[in-house]
Symmetry: C2
Subunit: 783 residues, 2 copies
């Protein structure tokens, strides 16, 4: 097609050379990018010399030949498809004039429209060169779009009222920005966003790849002192801090929060979207179904449970041969193993791929998981506070032929799948972890996994959307990720690694990601460091330690604080002695953070009953105890403006170098790891293992699970295992009642005392006040 | 401010008069619309004479006064808020020049930008009049947008392959249109859509109000003959029919489908998005979480269950006084009843509103639901095939203090809440139905409702998004609503009234809505007419009756058809005698439709083993049996093109007048209604009531539930109650084993035989083949 190669060379060689050079530069910096010109044509004669374009200039060419009798609509369909094709950087229509209607031309996305000069006087070659230039230009533009974009955040104005209205009233009074607008402001590309309505959107993990060379921002953990049963406001501090950073100090910041269980929303606790003027909005979306992640976990968890019991039943009622015939059926006369069955064969050491080759012994080993009904550890879940499911007997119908067994339901967020969601770093890793989950053991004591049940792929499919963090916003229009919410005792109580990673890229090097750890710092922060940071490889820059005068007074010897009962007068009137004595707990928690080499900023969450003298006393003691700073926060009543001092302190301390280190090595023995946490973090003299716990340790060592990190299941109401011991208990031996393992999530969890994994409903649950106005669709009574 | 009223009157009176006239016309046709001009200003002096605008011209004026020190961003925030405010039709900025930056001006939505002429030479009054003109114009434009918009549907091109690939391969090979594009094509407004990702969106019910004056389209029901256990393809016929109508005959059409339970997707049956080249895409989105409606139902259902058991426990362990103190607590020293408690007091005949006024007897009546644990009818649900939950004992933990009781889990779609979702016509109605649900009875035999438990508002909140139908598309890019999927035996087995109503408005008077009824016509169609159409007030125009040669041969005496076992040769080779004999069932089902006065088009769903002679025989007999038309369909292998003949027949028959009527009157006695269905529809000689059934009838009559419609729970595998009796069984007495009621959904359901409400997993469930490619995110093995 190149009619006059020499002449072309003479005339256009400089332009061609420039194109080639630019392409070379593009390829060097973006080896995965193949700049591509798509040509739509209705005949095979080539107006654009494709050979020349590809060989001389080096562009990829994609030719789409439509039949002569095709309609305008078909051309447009083709264009729309190419518009969405990320491989294509330019679209050129080589069509007869009759096809080139305005609607056909307009169908091409502007950034892909590379139409050249069509005047008759130009040679085809010249047009080709111009088009090539355009494709190169649009590739360059595409690369630019893929780069990190500085934020253009437009905060929402907040005018706090006094007295502070209810949470739902505050939430409803603020109109959130369309979530697509927020996404654009923080540099997300439209194709990285999946809107769920107008106020929530899932963000694609492909972002991590796009911004892989972008340095991370500063990583801030919000933890708390040992709390009262009422909670000391870590979520509000987290939310207030990002409102202050982003909306007032104009520093990019992201809050990463856990998704709350729906159970407590209708039970005692109410919502968990922060509170007062430091909230995630709309709070009802945050507290209800959100984007369905917990529902997906429930579905996946219960599919495993159903598979376990059905398998036990089928194995008990069928011969090896019948099981084998059903598990590896003949389809159109052919029998073959599915990939997940091949994997099981390999684990069994059977290196055969033809089902007819297996010996009867091998068939038996393959078809019989031989699960011991007494040793099934997998439990069903619901996302409802349903106390009657704490201990149940299943399988009592005749159809289950006497295979009844006792088991229980947990609340959905206690599922190991939730812990996996929180710790995984991508689809492949999540799929592998789901497959490794141990659901019980067989009659020989060998662990049986989700892979053995053949259910791994289905679990991954059920969880494919849940793995994407959900973007929402604070009351001041700053970005928030809501993702995962594992229990803080039987699991590690932190939001997801993936949300933190995405946020750290998005905020940029000078920005801040504020993430929160459940319970007191002795539990949530310890697990954040030893489990979450170890998994993610991320290094924290600063810990914000939340304290309240109320909790400090309790630690100083104040009377009991109980939910639903009015506070004793010690908590309402000034009492400097109680505060000073209680600061022992604050000091200990600061020391724990220092064990890991991370500096601490104390955030005193101020209540209206706190006096100036009390506030100053706490800040003075905190700084004397080693905190890099200690400041008061008024986010609840004032929003981000009330946390500006905290934001400034965090900014300053985060810029200092620190020496982050883990508390133990994974290669230490299980007992050693538990003892290290008990002594160094909790202040115990030693640990004491029950015989069950010792037996489990032996078993886990034998199974090769000894090198997993430790996830202590301990009360959050004391540094010790005794909830009534406040302040800094000493001289105690930490009893380890039992030990369990979440192999998929990747930790071993010693049980210190009994952990309830299913809350109950009180006599008058929250739901009495919750209602929906059928006309305005407004929700009432959520808090 | 009106400086020269007379002069203004002289100069502008004709423009003012015209504005007034137009406004009057707008108000007459749209009494709810109040055309409004919003003025943003930073001082109180009024450049636009608001008095004049409102009194002389009659526009509403909304004045927003910003403080002098406000920033440009604050002005923009205000504008963005007004942009989204549907009450505002024009925004005018009355600001000092320093505020009028380009970004401030550009913030106003074009359709709300009513800026007049600002030249110094014009008087303020003239500017005001021009602005008013603009507001009137933009109000008029707004009204036009609200009108019904003709469709501009751009179908997707389909190029069927042979042999036909797997369902998931076909689904994946087609790129769906962005759902927002489809919505625009069919005349939905952007604010009526809530996207869930790029391929699904919820549609707001406000559409019903906007298009209230738009005449409905034609209403087509797809039902089937008595099926084999393999199903005869109603969903594919439905999908193929709309593909033919919309993409090939260019007639607006909508398919309304049920959302499938996730349980069977991983069990035996696989997906339910149609099949072959007549599918809803993406099929994995259709078959998995969709937009979370079933998860919402599960959450709501199980909240009721948890509330029941917790209430029984709390009542058993507390005195009247303690219960009362907790149920009506003192908050800041004040005790008051919540609205739902006031409603309960009224039902109890206690007309008091001050908690301290109740007598001890009244307190007792109020606080004690006195639920009889033996008479709790409410069951928990999961959306998983979990056979071990068919009969269970709950409450065995020590914390439940010996209140263990036997109960069961159903699959989520068997929840009464699903039936309510399918039958409701809006939020207020749904909330009322949820409150009426009977969960059991007290020790005096009185029914106890969700309202009595105080949980109604919370249920409505959990279901607030589920009530909106989900928009998806077929393989050919034509619109589909997916909404609700109640069981077809213990419930009515039809998709939602709301989806049908929305679709009937959207397709326009000449368009078609094709909806589907579960099971055979004797069950699904009968319930569609007697329950769904009675509730909705909608009148069907034509029934499409789906038949297959396979099912007809079975009715003609062919051997058993069993899932998972190869078909006997009778079903593979031509056998005209079996076909001819089996047409008895087809004829009977046609007659059933005629009982209701609705014409029938028979759709023979052709399989590749069917011979031409068999096909012609069926069509001949069908027409001789009273079908208005009988045509063959090839949608599975050819898509909409394979159903064009069916579409033409439906179009023709639907244009004929029909005489739709119900089969029984609601005022007939329960026994009479059951007998009518048994005799006229099933062909039974009579019915026979068990003593339990008779007792229940007496109870329901006594409770005032006698006038509800009947929802028969009968096998779908025979016209009779005996699944093995094929063709047209006669001479049998229909036994009514028991009778139950769904008071919230609004029907009574007699049980004919035992109905399983919890499927099980087979030895090798579908999940063995399902997997996710972690790199491409493609799903494998769904079908």
């Amino acid at each position: 097609m190149v009619k006059c190669a020499i002449c072309v060379h003479l005339i256009y060689s400089d332009i061609v050379q420039k194109c080639r050079d630019e392409l070379k530069a593009i390829r060097e910096t973006n080896p995965d990018l193949k700049p591509t010109l798509a040509i739509i044509q209705v005949c095979l004669c080539c107006y654009i010399p494709a050979d020349f374009v590809s060989t001389q200039i080096g562009l990829n060419v994609m030719q789409i030949c439509l039949p002569r009798q095709c309609t305008e609509d078909e051309v447009i369909d083709e264009i729309l498809r190419l518009n969405e094709d990320s491989r294509v950087h330019g679209i050129f229509l080589h069509l007869p004039q009759s096809f080139l209607s305005r609607s056909v031309r307009n169908a091409i996305k502007p950034q892909k429209d590379v139409d050249g000069c069509h005047f008759e006087v130009f040679t085809e070659m010249f047009v080709a060169v111009v088009i090539c230039q355009h494709v190169v230009r649009s590739s360059r533009r595409w690369i630019q779009e893929q780069q990190y974009q500085p934020w253009r955040l437009r905060p929402l104005k907040l005018q706090p009222l006094s007295p502070v209205p209810s949470d739902i009233e505050i939430s409803r009074a603020q109109t959130p920005k369309p979530i697509s607008q927020l996404a654009q402001e923080i540099g997300l590309l439209p194709e990285e966003l999946e809107a769920y309505g107008n106020t929530k959107a899932k963000v694609h993990l492909s972002l991590l790849n796009r911004l892989q060379h972008q340095p991370n921002g500063k990583y801030v953990l919000v933890a708390g002192i040992t709390p009262t049963p009422l909670g000391e406001g870590k979520s509000t501090v987290t939310t207030g801090l990002v409102q202050a950073l982003s909306a007032h100090l104009k520093l990019n910041s992201f809050a990463c929060l856990r998704q709350p269980s729906q159970g407590p929303t209708f039970g005692v606790k109410g919502g968990a979207a922060g509170g007062g003027y430091a909230q995630v909005i709309p709070m009802e979306e945050f507290n209800l179904h959100l984007t369905g992640d917990i529902h997906a976990i429930t579905a996946a968890n219960n599919l495993v449970a159903a598979a376990i019991d059905a398998r036990i039943l089928h194995e008990s009622t069928q011969s090896d041969k019948a099981l084998y015939r059903r598990l590896v059926p003949s389809v159109n006369g052919v029998r073959c193993f599915s990939p997940i069955q091949m994997a099981r064969l390999q684990r069994l050491g059977i290196n055969k791929s033809d089902p007819s080759d297996l010996t009867p012994e091998e068939v038996r080993a393959f078809v019989r998981l031989d699960l011991d009904p007494e040793k099934v550890t997998w439990q069903r879940v619901v996302d409802t506070n349903d106390r009657f499911l704490r201990k149940i007997t299943v399988g009592q119908a005749n159809t289950e032929k006497g295979h009844a067994r006792q088991t229980q339901f947990d609340i959905a967020v206690a599922s190991e799948i939730m812990a996996i969601l929180a710790l995984t770093d991508g689809l492949a890793d999540m799929r592998a972890r789901l497959g490794r989950m141990v659901v019980g053991s067989n009659r020989n004591g060998q662990p049986i996994t989700a892979d053995d049940l053949g259910v791994t792929g289905a679990l991954a499919v059920l969880m494919k959307d849940a793995i994407k963090p959900t973007l929402m916003q604070t009351l001041e229009g700053t970005p928030v990720f809501v993702h995962a919410g594992p229990f803080a005792n039987i699991a590690h109580g932190n939001s997801s690694v993936l949300a933190d990673k995405l946020a750290l890229k998005l905020v940029g090097e000078e920005g801040f990601v504020v993430t929160e750890a459940g319970f007191g710092a002795d539990i949530g922060m310890e697990k954040f460091f030893n489990i979450k940071c170890r998994t993610s490889g991320l290094k924290p820059d600063v810990v914000v330690l939340v304290a309240t005068v109320r909790a400090l007074k309790m630690h100083g010897g104040g009377p009991n604080v109980t939910a639903g009962v009015p506070l004793p007068k010690e908590y309402i009137n000034e009492n400097l002695q109680l505060v000073a004595d209680g600061c022992s707990n604050l000091k200990k928690q600061i020391q724990i953070a220092h064990l890991f080499g991370v500096p601490v900023v104390v955030a005193l969450n101020v209540f209206k009953t706190d006096t100036q003298a009390e506030i100053e006393l706490v800040c003075r003691i905190a700084e004397a105890s080693g905190a890099s700073a200690a400041v008061q926060c008024h986010h609840w009543s004032r929003g981000g403006r009330g946390s500006v001092e905290l934001a400034q302190a965090v900014k300053k301390v985060a810029s200092q170098k620190n020496n982050f280190q883990f508390l133990y090595n994974l290669q230490d023995s299980i007992v050693e790891k538990i003892r290290t946490i008990a002594q160094k973090v909790y202040g115990a003299d030693d640990i004491e293992l029950s015989p069950e716990a010792q037996a489990k340790i032996d078993y886990y060592n034998q199974q090769g699970f000894g090198a997993l990190p430790i996830c202590m299941a301990k009360t959050h109401l004391s540094l010790s295992h005794m909830p009534e011991k406040k302040g800094v208990p000493t001289g105690f031996i930490l009893p380890i009642r039992d030990i369990r393992a979440s192999i998929g999530a990747g930790f071993i969890y010693p049980l210190v005392g009994t952990m309830s994994t299913m809350p109950g409903l009180p006599t008058r649950p929250c739901f009495y006040d919750i209602d929906l106005d059928p006309v305005t669709e407004e929700i009432k009574g959520l808090f």
